[in-house]
Every structure is written in structure tokens, then in C-alpha cells.
Amino acid sequence: MSAPLVEIRGPSALGGGWRRAADLLYLMAVSEFRRSYLGTALGYLWSLARPLLLFAVLLVVFTQAFDLGERVEQYPVLLLFNIVLFGFFQEATVLAVGSIVASEPIVRRTQFPRLVIPLSVVLTALFNLGVNLVVVFGFILVAGVDPRWTWLLLPLILVALVVFTTAVSMIVSALNPRFRDTGIIWSVAVTALFYATPVLYPIELVPGTVGDLLALNPLAPLFELARKWVIDPAAPGPTALLVPALLFVAICVLAVWIFRREAPRIAEEL
């Protein structure tokens, strides 16, 4: 039994091999999911309550104070659908910010792949999204939207959304140990992004330069495509694709770069 000598490379994003990282990720996310859904009798209802309440408030505001209800086809279900999609992005990234600092004991005392920590947050949020989407599709059918073959394309959008969410989660979680106000800044930024993304309104209702600028948001084409494929085939779809796509890729590259750079030093910054 003489295993070969292998150089250890120190802590890293996937320290200990991707296989082990995947196992840890799975176990952490599953136990977290089980805790929030099976631990409390109302666990499932609670996770639904937040988007539904937000939906109820916004629906009243935007159909009564503004007239989006008349100007947009199937506005209520579109709003609910968008809130659930954006809720995933928001929940995952906001929880990811503090995730590494909160995991201080394991980061400083075990050989733990750093990437697993924000990823498990994203995965848990993804479980929630899946559960919420079941309810959303219930509403969509009740509202009289007919099922279409384009519904089958939704997973493409979800994959893109998950990739983008993961990238942002990696960036904010890796910066937080060094800059402890990342969480405060991000909570403001994500609120701004909520309004800068076509969640409450379809993008064609925003005229002029502002509309053009909003269309550059990497999240904008995802929401526009989701609307066109799932709810309203007559919707115009994304107005700009190239710049959002480039931004999307740039943010993903940045995320990998920042995370790889910070991962070896995280234990020392805590």
C-alpha cells in the first residue's frame, strides 16, 4: 500500500476534487431543503406565502393605480410568474452574500471546497423555485392560458437563469469576506435590479432611451422570452440580444476569475 505522493495545492474553489464537492453540495442542499419543508408543518406554505403576498400587493398597485391590467395580456399571471422567477434570483444571491462568512467554522477548520457554500444556497433556492413553479402553472392554467409546445423551452430559460444567479452568487459571496459591506450594497442593488428588470412591466411599455438601456440588462431577455414562450405568444420578445448576451458571459467569466482568486485566501480573511 504505497500510494503515490501527490502535491497538495491548498484551498480552492473545488478543493478535494469535483466528485467530493458534488457529494457535499448534494448533501447540504438536500438537508437544507428537508429542514425547510419537512421540519415545519407549514414549511411549504411559508415558502409560497412570500411571493404570493408580494404578488397580491403589486397586483393591486399596478392594476388599480396604473392600468397595466388593461394594457398587458394576462397581466396577473405574468406578474406572478415574473415574481417567482426574480424571487429565485433574489433569494439565492442575497443568501449567498453572507454564506461563506456564516460557514466560518468549516472554512477555517476543514478542508472544504469553497464553491460548495454559495452553490448549495443556489441549489436550495432552486428547489424552492421548482415547487413554486408548480403553483404558478396552476394559476396559469386557471387563468385560461392554453398549454403550448413552447412551454417545453422553459428549461432553457431556467438553465440560463440558474447560471447567471450562480455567477452573481459567486461574486458577492467571494467579495464579502474582504469587504464586509457587500451585503448592504447588494441588498440595495438587487432592489434596483428588481425595478430595472421587466418583472412588473413588459419592456415594450418603456419608451425611448430608458427602454433601450433596460433592454441591455442580461436578465431582460430571459424574462421577455419566458413571457413569450409561456404566457403570450403575441408578445414582442427581447429587443436586444447581443449586448445582454455579452454582459451575461462577462459576468460569468468575472465570477470564475474572482472566485478562483479569492478562494485560497478566504480562510485567512475570516
Partner: protein
């Protein structure tokens, strides 16, 4: 060889003014960040062989924990490299990564994977872990409902069943009671028989001497010694108890300084015979020192000095054994009794040396600082000691 470390160095850059927010970066964009460099490790090289137990000792801040963390891939080394053969599992603290909200079943599997087992493998060993810990009937209880004793048992069972080729252990033995410590010893002995390798960071020289095949002494980030555990322990005592600025004078007899006698224990007692750290002014000082001879001593002389904070000897005395008796190799000598306490409040040290014979300079143990204590009370008089003085003042007529 299972661990090969070559020229490992680690420097922590500690900012004199910590900038840890975007706000500070933004409000002081041009402030230069000054760093204080702390050399935690400098050019440390060593090997660990298959089936060997290696002890790592050193004072607080000597870099031993940093070395362990680099070997465990928790910190990255600045220079040098470490190569490892086989699966290495660190135990920096028992029960790290336990999640109080999860059942012990889930925790055991998760922890097993952290220790480097595959998920299936961890699942397979679940029962063995629970049996070893004697917690099978509590498998589905959330960890937050466990007592601390149950938690320690579970953590230890996970560690044992993780069955790594190389275990890195940091002071784990210090947490439990005597029974637990004994259980640890038994497990480590069993692993030794199984040919596993263990690296142990500890303060306890008795453990080093009884368990380790070799030991490594770190001093302020430098590798001061690797080799015989007893020699390492002696050097550790010397580092720990030695006068701060003692220069290593050559021994007149050509022997090695304190290799022939080692201090086992030293403490102060009050009048009731209880161990005390400090002494009240005027209260007699109960002094107890136990030393062990590593080689035969024909007619040893034990010298005791009471030294003040500036290093001045306030007083001292010698004792030899009754009837010029000698000490056999491995024999222990107790030096103890009561000392009149005339010391004024302040900090004092007790230093001890052992001479092999009455001959000047034939040291079996060089002067070591064994105790550091404070005499407390309201200061009376000047100088180092108070004395009874039958002195009166009167006007001359």
C-alpha cells in the same frame, strides 16, 4: 514516505489599519494600506513515513497550527510544497461542520464526506459510526437535542470511522475528560498497529514522549528540531522555561545542557496545601518541584533561585539528597518545603538548576525558569524585601 514537506513558508500580512469595506475604500481611495508581516513559518522541511506518529510542538504562536492548516489545505503556503500520499483527514476540532438542525444520521454522512469518503461509502459506514458512539437509538434526533457528551462521542466516532490514511490531529485530546482521553489513546494505538500515520499538534509533552516516534519543534516559525521525542520535549521545556535572554553558554563538561534532568512539574502551594498561582505578601510560600533524572546522578545538588522581574537574584539556596544519596536513571526527585516570604509585592520567578556533583559548573540541568508568580498586597517599604528592623527615631537632646 507519506508526507514530504519542502521549504514551506507562510507569511501573514496583517494590515495595521484594517480596510474591510467598500465604504472605507471609497472614502479613502488613496490611503496606502500598511502591512505588518508576520512570518508564521519559514523554510520548514520534513518527512513523515508510513505508519509513523509525528508530534508537532511549540509555544503559542510558533506556527504549529499554521503548519497543520497548510497540510490540511485550509491555508495555502506562500512558498515550498507539500506532497502527500493517500487520503489525509484533518481534525482541527471535534464536531466541526456539524449542523445542529440536522439529524445525527445526516450529520454523520455529511461529515464522512467532508473527511474524504464517497457518499455511498459514508452511508455504508453510518451504522458503524453510530454503534461506536453508542448512539444508534438517537440516530434520528436532531443534533441540537444532543448533550455535549453525546456530541463529542459522535464527533469522535466519525473521526475514527473516517479511517483516513493520514490523520492530522490538533489538540483534540484536550477537550474530553480522562475517560475520553483514554479512549483516544486506545484508538490511536489501534491505528498504529494498523500502520496508519498520525500527525499530532500538542502542548502535552507527556503525550509526545509516550506516543510519538518522532517530534518536530517549531520556534517562532523556524523548524528548531526534528527527531527524538524526548529530546524535543526537553528543548521545548527549555524554550518555555528558559530566561528570555539566556545565551547558550557551552557546557564546561561538554555534555548537553539539560538533557540529563528534566523538570516534571513545579508549583506553589498555600498553607492549606492547595496549588496557587500567586502568593499574598507575608504568607509563607510552599514550593514543590519534581524532576526526573534521565541518567544516573551520583551526588546531585539542586539549586533554587528566587529572581525578581529585572532578573536579579533576590535569594537562593542549594539542597542535596540526604547522606549524599544518588539518583538512578529514570528516578524522580521531589524538592519541596516552605519558604519564608519576605518579598515585597511584585513579579518573581523561581529558577532551578541541577548540578551533577558539588563540582562547580558540572550541570545536569542548566538553570531553567520553572515558575512565574506574583506577590500581591499593599507595598510596604522600599526595595525587594521587607525585613524586621528594630529601629526607632527620636529627637536628640
Amino acid at each position: 514516505m507519506v508526507i514530504e514537506a519542502r521549504g514551506v513558508a507562510k507569511t501573514f500580512r496583517i494590515p495595521t489599519h484594517r480596510v474591510d469595506s467598500f465604504k472605507e475604500r471609497a472614502t479613502h481611495p488613496f490611503r496606502r494600506i500598511d502591512y505588518r508581516e508576520q512570518h508564521a513559518l519559514r523554510d520548514v522541511s520534513f518527512d513523515v513515513h508510513q505508519g509513523e506518529f509525528l508530534g508537532i510542538v511549540g509555544r503559542n504562536g510558533s506556527g504549529k497550527s499554521t503548519l497543520l492548516k497548510i497540510m490540511s489545505s485550509i491555508y495555502s503556503a506562500d512558498r515550498g510544497r507539500i506532497r502527500v500520499a493517500g487520503r489525509l483527514a484533518p481534525f482541527i476540532e471535534l464536531g466541526v461542520g456539524f449542523n445542529a438542525e440536522m439529524t445525527s444520521r445526516d450529520n454523520v454522512v455529511l461529515n464522512g464526506v467532508m473527511m474524504g469518503l464517497g457518499r455511498r461509502e459514508a452511508q455504508r459506514r453510518l451504522d458503524a459510526v453510530l454503534d461506536f458512539a453508542g448512539l444508534r437509538e438517537f440516530a434520528d434526533l436532531k443534533l441540537k437535542n444532543y448533550s455535549s457528551g453525546m456530541m463529542v462521542r459522535l464527533a469522535f466516532a466519525v473521526m475514527v470511522e473516517a479511517d483516513a490514511d493520514i490523520m492530522l490531529v490538533d489538540e483534540v485530546l484536550a477537550v474530553g475528560d480522562a475517560e475520553f482521553a483514554q479512549k483516544c489513546m486506545d484508538v490511536f494505538q489501534a491505528r498504529r498497529r494498523a500502520g496508519r500515520t498520525l500527525v499530532l499538534v500538542t502542548h502535552d509533552m507527556a503525550t509526545v514522549e509516550s506516543m510519538c516516534d518522532r517530534a518536530l519543534l517549531l520556534e517562532a516559525g523556524d523548524l528548531a528540531y526534528v527527531g527524538d521525542p524526548q529530546e524535543t520535549a526537553l528543548r521545548y521545556y527549555r524554550v518555555n522555561f528558559a530566561r528570555e535572554h539566556a545565551s547558550p553558554e557551552p557546557s564546561p563538561t561538554g555534555g548537553v545542557w539539560d538533557v540529563n534532568v528534566r523538570p516534571v512539574d513545579a508549583w506553589l502551594e498555600n498553607a492549606a496545601g492547595e496549588r496557587v498561582e500567586n502568593v499574598e505578601q507575608g504568607e509563607p510560600i510552599g514550593l514543590r518541584i519534581v524532576v526526573e533524572a534521565r541518567h544516573e546522578l551520583a551526588a546531585p545538588v539542586f539549586g533554587i533561585h528566587f529572581v525578581d522581574a529585572q532578573g536579579n537574584i533576590v535569594f537562593g539556596f542549594n539542597r542535596s539528597l540526604a547522606d549524599g544519596e544518588g539518583v538512578a536513571s529514570g528516578g524522580r526527585v521531589r524538592i519541596g518545603g516552605t519558604v519564608e516570604n519576605r518579598l515585597l509585592p511584585g513579579r518573581y520567578f523561581v529558577e532551578c538548576y541541577v548540578a551533577r556533583s558539588r563540582e562547580q559548573g558540572d550541570y545536569a540541568m542548566h538553570r531553567l525558569r520553572l515558575l512565574d508568580f506574583v506577590v500581591y498586597g499593599t507595598p510596604k517599604g522600599k526595595g525587594l524585601v521587607s525585613v524586621d528592623a528594630d529601629i526607632e527615631a527620636e529627637v536628640e537632646r
